[in-house]
């Protein structure tokens, strides 16, 4: 009840706050009221989150959400992460991060006299998320969720269902919160842009929103990078990026935000691109909403490796309304003011820096469009009514490669250009060293075996871009630190692309099978399977094994530990795997694992009325007819009224060979009631030397009558060979994968550098002063 009430209170306060902020024009008292209500929203939102967290920590399984995603066996860090393991909690986390951002946004806006309207739109976004939480509350009780099935009010399940083992990893504590913080920060350019339009301020908002756009790009970029690392290091996808719809949908707003940073920068320098900035600021937020719609509404259900829960028609509709409303708000305000926006006649000359940067912007927009179109394609096919289809990964790679080349070339060339006009003849002299660097890197890669033309072009532009940006880092490190962030990010992009090319296109792999003690050879490495160790013995809901895989080259041995994790989460039916990775500076050895039992003689599992050939002599066939459970029918207790330890069971089979029917007979076994395993009475098959044993009943949980039986075979007088575990290893190398991580760190780091340069007190004062000047004018 309390949680529900708090959500209503927060919703009410957010509407109130938004109302005051929107009507507050020139009225300080209304602004103050809006602010107070906002602090109320902040406090309530914190209370809601604390309340959910306390219910999770105290294992209150009466709440459906707590029951569905957590359990008493989870350690504290994972228990905390179940806060956002499901839909409702994710929305709450989104709302919470938004509210906290707003808390820091208010003083920034207040100081610059920009709070009116801006905060109003911001609170409106929070109100919408609260509305979703009203309809899809994390505080629902199990008897409310299952109301139609007569669950007793006050019913308390003893144990929760627990967290998906795939997610049981420290990454879940890091990646989602950062991603949501990034998503939330992407709201800020939008609210500044709307506010600018409504207040007929078409320029100042750009300067004010720039640091926040940098912040949003940095954080969402960090989130994307960590997602890639998670997929590579733990989830065993073999790579860091798969162009999966879920990944793509968070990449799209990041791409527009990064584009926006560039167009804002051009605007600062030239006064142009005002409308472009409006549109990009709108798109960034709208794409966040679109991403949420794609990943939370179930529309992409069949097309992603991520699992989606269908959230029900209400959330689907709410998200759709949410998206359309904010789109309409943007379109209408922009349309109304369109004629009033007076761009100075900025005729970018072909020889100007702003023109070259704009070309880079076009390349970025094309990448955005390609990712957007590819990701949305299954929905588009639904809407236009053609056969549903999905886009292959190679389409993204093919098209983005030339665009990546253009981005690198333009972003590097632009550095030699001057604003407004450049003497082109001087440029040619300046780029000679850069081009040489590109050629050298290309030659090196040819020697290393790269022979595809498009890859060589990419390598060339990487070399060019790295050299040019390095040159400018060195030039500017003393003089003008402002642009350092940009250079670093561009170097990062080049390194990322080089790493992606090398580790993606030049990864080799083999698939091998290994029993304990066996080994395989891979590119000069000897890979040995040296047993396994059970870990986390104190936890009773799982059997988790770390395998000892030794990767040996010359005299150097590295042991990696791929993991097989059997969990009660899926009734131990199949294990979850983690890869083992040997990381070295120039390449990783990546070992992805799967398991299969290995039998020297193949066992046969049969359900009633099914038949199969006999393993040691396939001219014979056996058909299972029925179970004979005479002993069991006498009851589970023996004469002394104690539970029986053993029971005789039989299975009726029909034997035949290629000459026809032989006979029907019963195979007996003594079943151990504790282990459910059988001690078979070995049955001689016809005149052969083969014996059949009835090893086990294979129960069908859904329909016991449909259970089957497992048979094994041996030679008369021989011993039964027991199954051995066989590892299936996919061993691959990932050349220069470290460039991917270094590159992404530089890209993200570059944004932070720019942000901190922008946020130094001196800079802030300057912005303030110029703002006041602008207002006085």
């Amino acid at each position: 009840m309390l949680g529900q009430i708090l959500i209503y209170v927060a919703f009410g306060l957010s509407v109130l706050s938004g109302f005051f902020y929107i009507i507050a024009k020139d009225k300080q008292s209304f602004l103050k009221l809006g602010r107070i209500a906002y602090y109320g929203v902040t406090a309530t939102m914190l209370a809601i989150s604390m309340y959910l967290l306390s219910n999770i920590l105290s294992h209150n399984f009466q709440m459906t959400y707590v029951w569905e995603y957590s359990s008493t066996t989870l350690p504290l860090n994972l228990l905390i992460s179940t806060f956002y393991a499901g839909q409702q909690g994710s929305f709450l986390l989104w709302g919470l991060t938004l509210t906290l951002i707003g808390f820091f946004l208010i003083p920034y806006l207040k100081e610059r006299n920009y709070e009116y309207v801006t905060m109003g739109i911001f609170v409106l976004v929070i109100a919408f998320i609260l509305l979703i939480l009203i309809f899809k509350s994390p505080f629902e009780f199990v008897w409310q969720t299952y109301a139609d099935q007569n669950v007793e009010v006050g019913f308390m399940p003893k144990e929760g269902r627990g967290l998906n083992p795939i997610l049981q990893n420290y990454w879940i504590n890091i990646h989602p919160p950062i991603l949501f913080l990034g998503y939330s920060a992407m709201t800020i350019p939008y609210i500044f842009a709307i506010s600018g339009l409504l207040k007929k301020d078409y320029r100042k908002w750009i300067r004010l929103a720039l640091p926040w756009t940098l912040f949003a790009s940095a954080i969402l970029g960090l989130g994307l990078m960590l997602g890639g690392l998670w997929a590579y290091e733990t989830l065993g996808w073999g790579g860091f990026w798969a162009w999966d719809p879920v990944e793509n949908s968070s990449l799209i707003p990041w791409l527009t935000a990064v584009t926006l940073v560039h167009t804002m920068y051009i605007h600062q320098k030239t006064g142009g691109l005002i409308k472009t900035n409006f549109v990009l600021a709108f798109l960034t937020f709208l794409f966040v909403l679109y991403a949420t719609f794609l990943t939370r509404s179930g529309v992409l259900g069949d097309t992603s490796v991520h699992s989606f829960v269908s959230p029900g028609p209400i959330i689907y509709k709410l998200l759709l309304i949410f998206m359309i409303l904010f789109l309409l708000l943007a379109v209408i305000t922009l349309f109304v003011r369109l004629n009033k926006i007076k761009s100075p006649e900025i005729n970018f000359k072909v020889s100007s820096k702003e023109f070259i940067v704009s070309l880079g912007v076009i390349a970025l927009l094309l990448v955005t469009f390609i990712v957007l179109f590819g990701t949305s394609w299954p929905i588009i096919t639904d809407i236009i009514g053609i056969t549903k289809s999905t886009v292959e990964v190679k389409w993204y790679n093919q098209l983005n490669l030339p665009l990546a080349v253009l981005m690198m070339v333009f972003s590097s060339l632009a550095l030699y250009f001057s604003w407004n006009r450049t003497d082109l003849s001087k440029i040619i002299k300046k780029i000679v060293i850069g081009v040489t660097a590109g050629v050298i890197l290309t030659l090196i890669s040819i020697i290393m075996g790269v022979n595809q033309f498009s890859y060589l072009i990419l390598v060339f532009s990487v070399g060019f871009s790295i050299y040019v940006n390095m040159e400018f880092v060195v030039k500017n490190i003393r003089k003008d630190k402002k642009l350092l962030g940009g250079f670093l990010s561009h170097i990062g992009l080049a390194l990322l692309l080089l790493g992606a090319l090398a580790s993606g296109a030049y990864s080799e792999s083999i698939q091998v099978r290994m029993k304990n003690g066996q080994y395989a050879e891979f590119k000069g490495y000897r890979i040995e399977h040296n047993g396994k160790e059970r870990v986390e013995l104190d936890k009773h809901d799982r059997e988790k094994y770390e395998y000892n895989i030794d990767i040996i080259k010359d005299n150097d041995t590295t042991r990696v530990h791929p993991v097989a994790f059997w969990s009660e989460f899926n009734d131990m039916e199949s294990p979850f795997f983690e890869p083992g990775v040997k990381m070295t500076p120039f390449k990783d050895i990546y070992i992805a694992m799967a398991l299969t039992p290995h039998y020297d003689v193949k066992p046969v599992a049969l359900k009633k009325q099914l038949s199969a050939p006999v393993s040691l002599d396939t001219t014979y066939k056996m058909k299972m007819l029925d179970f004979l459970m005479l002993d069991m029918q006498k009851g589970p207790m023996n004469e002394n009224n104690e539970p029986k330890e053993f029971m005789n069971i039989g299975v009726l089979v029909r034997l035949s060979n290629d000459k026809g029917f032989i006979k029907e007979d019963t195979l007996f076994a003594e079943m151990n009631m504790k282990t459910m395993g059988n001690e078979p009475v070995w049955y001689d098959l016809d005149t052969t030397n083969i014996q059949i044993g009835f090893m086990q009943i294979m129960p069908d949980k859904e329909n016991l009558a449909n259970s089957g039986a497992l048979f094994m075979f041996k030679e008369k007088g021989g011993v039964l060979s027991m199954p051995e575990e066989m590892l299936i290893l996919e061993i691959s190398d990932k050349p220069f994968i470290n460039l991917v991580w270094i590159g992404t760190i530089l890209i993200v780091g570059g944004f932070f550098v720019s942000l901190f340069k922008y946020m130094t007190p001196k800079q802030l004062k300057n912005t303030l002063r110029t703002d006041n000047l602008a207002e006085n004018n």
Partner: protein, 128 residues
Amino acid sequence: MNKKYIFGGLIILTFIALAMFSFQDNTTEFVTIAEAKASNENVQVYGHWLKDKETNYNPEKNEFEFFMEDESGNTFKVLHSGAKPNNFEIAAKVVVKGHYENDIFISNQILTKCPSKYEGTIEELQES
């Protein structure tokens, strides 16, 4: 006309054209089993695993075989080059990508979907 528009426009048009031309070869349609049987193209099929029919992993060839049924009740045998996917047993739905050839669907990718396990069921609630 201004040179800059020609230049920028050229980049945009080239890429849109490139994207469109390469699009057809790079999409995989979702079809029913009946349609998959009638076609020799690369397609993807949505359905569920038939537990009662023969399911087998061949470690020597690293091939996984099973039978699949779609919504309209048609079935076919799937031969997947690779190991049995994670979560295959508990998957409520599977999506296979590949093509149909000689009475078998040759698959190179399987996606498993486990919605039922991610949202609690009343039975589980009462068991716990």
